[in-house]
């Protein structure tokens, strides 16, 4: 039985959102009037409701986790919890030590004592792009993490005088800027592209020096 997994469909919906139901993409058929149609719709809705509401991590109080009206420490706590749950969804593909180090850096990054009231909170959809970048590229060197003034995650790597900084944007987009010394000559480059083309575009700058690529 052939099954096609379309990129366009996957791109539209977040696979890592902790609040998103497991089978939310399933369609309920068009409305019809017969009792059989009603029975079928009702059964299908019941199945989906069951499949999507009985799991602990997915059911909340009905409120979005990150609300601007909440005090800053609570918003930071919610953002931290959200990105950790997102990471857990793919943690079978991550090295355990790498994951622990990531969590330590996130704890530091979203520490209320280091945060100003006006700073934007880390966007979950930007963090999703980071996780997809990690799974696609498999960098073994840890990045320094920050948050941009629009709430996107910033990841930076330094190797001597060579620097690479990425802004992970929602929807698998990356804006990057680099400084690379070749034969003592300084080169700079910047671009905004989709994740799938990232390594192709970075290849001439030998990104291994920052990312130490591995499995």
């Amino acid at each position: 039985m052939i099954t096609e997994f379309h990129y366009h469909r996957r791109d539209k919906i977040s696979a890592l959102d902790p609040e998103r139901p497991l089978f939310s993409g399933i369609y309920v058929p068009s409305r019809a009037d017969s009792s059989t149609a009603r029975d079928l719709s009702s059964t299908l809705e019941g199945m989906l409701r069951w499949a999507d509401t009985t799991v602990l991590s997915r059911v909340g109080s009905g409120q979005p986790r990150v609300q601007t009206s909440k005090p800053l420490p609570e918003r930071l706590y919610d953002a931290l919890a959200t990105v950790k749950v997102m990471t857990s969804k793919i943690s079978m593909h991550l090295d355990r030590n790498w994951r622990s180090r990531l969590f330590r850096r996130l704890d530091e990054l979203l520490n209320p004592e280091e945060w100003h009231e006006d700073d934007p909170i880390l966007s979950a959809s930007s963090f999703e792009t980071y996780l997809r970048f990690v799974l696609l590229v498999r960098p073994t060197r840890d990045a320094s993490l920050g948050v941009s003034n629009t709430g996107n995650l910033l990841a930076g790597w330094i190797d001597g005088r060579n620097r690479l900084t990425m802004e992970l944007q929602p929807g698998d987009m990356v804006r990057w800027v680099l400084v690379r010394y070749v034969d003592d000559e300084r080169e700079t480059a910047a671009a905004q592209i989709g994740l799938t083309r990232l390594m192709q575009v970075l290849a001439p700058y030998q990104p291994e020096c920052w990312l130490s690529l591995g499995d």
Binding site: M1, I2, T3, F5, L22, Y27, M47, L56, L136
Partner: protein, 248 residues
């Protein structure tokens, strides 16, 4: 030497379990103050706490009125990594483990420890239902071509191709009753978190709501049999090619 008749359990370094849940539902409501005290005890282990409220919504199409009924009220507690979760509520007590799954022994020990803590505050509460649910997500590399689901799983929807084109999306549910247990099996395609992969969820839920075990020994013994059963069902639902994905 006597042979162990119990099934052997396979260990997978990259187990596809995204969540494991053991859920006790009570025959009678637990007092809110009891839940609060249990939360305070468990908070030593699970420092992150949020309120846990489940609503039931009734909509009357004739009067266009809707009513919200609070069905469950309690707390969700989690550890610093947000992977170990406990729900203490007026109708239920549940422990959950998100990925990475650390194995049955760790999960059972947590249940025993946290249940003991809950009971030290709440005393005996009659259990009306015990549910064990394992949600797996199998991430399959696309390698530039459509996936033949039968290469990976053995429980899926089958339609004649042609005339039907390849399936974009599918969801199947089967319900079985075996020796007083209700087994619900869900499978379906789900969005993959990985670029260049397709994912299939395999969700196994085993529940018991008649002759429900009540003592700790009965509960643990019952859970061991459920463990055997859910592992057997999981292994029956997957192929060697899927197993290879979890062993890489």
């Amino acid at each position: 030497m006597e042979r162990d008749s119990r099934p052997q359990h396979r260990y997978y370094p990259r187990a596809p379990i995204t969540e494991a849940v053991i859920d006790f539902q009570f025959a009678e409501m637990v007092d809110a103050r009891v839940c609060d005290r249990a939360k305070n005890r468990l908070k030593q282990i699970y420092p992150n706490t949020t309120d846990w409220i489940e609503y039931h919504v009734e909509v009357n199409p004739q009067t266009k009125a809707s009513e919200f009924h609070e069905r469950v009220r309690g707390f969700r507690l989690s550890d610093l990594d947000e992977t170990c979760v406990v729900i203490v509520a007026n109708t239920r007590f549940a422990v959950s483990r998100l990925a990475p799954y650390a194995g049955w022994d760790e999960f059972r020990e947590r249940l025993v420890r946290d249940w003991k803590t809950f009971k030290s505050v709440a005393g005996y509460k009659k259990i009306a239902r015990i549910g064990v649910r394992y949600i797996n997500r199998i991430d399959i590399p696309l390698a530039g071509k459509p996936i033949e689901l039968s290469d990976y799983i053995r429980f899926y929807l089958e339609v004649p191709q042609p005339p039907f084109p390849p399936i974009d999306q599918q969801f199947s549910q089967a319900v079985f009753s075996v020796a007083g247990r209700k087994i619900v099996l869900n499978t379906g395609t789900v969005p993959s978190p990985l670029i260049g992969y397709g994912s299939v969820a395999l969700d196994i839920d085993i529940a018991c709501d008649t002759n429900v075990p009540q003592t700790d020994d009965e509960i643990l013994s019952y859970l061991e049999t459920v463990r055997d059963q859910k592992n057997m069902l999981f292994e029956a639902c997957i192929t060697d090619r899927a197993r290879a994905l979890f062993e890489q």
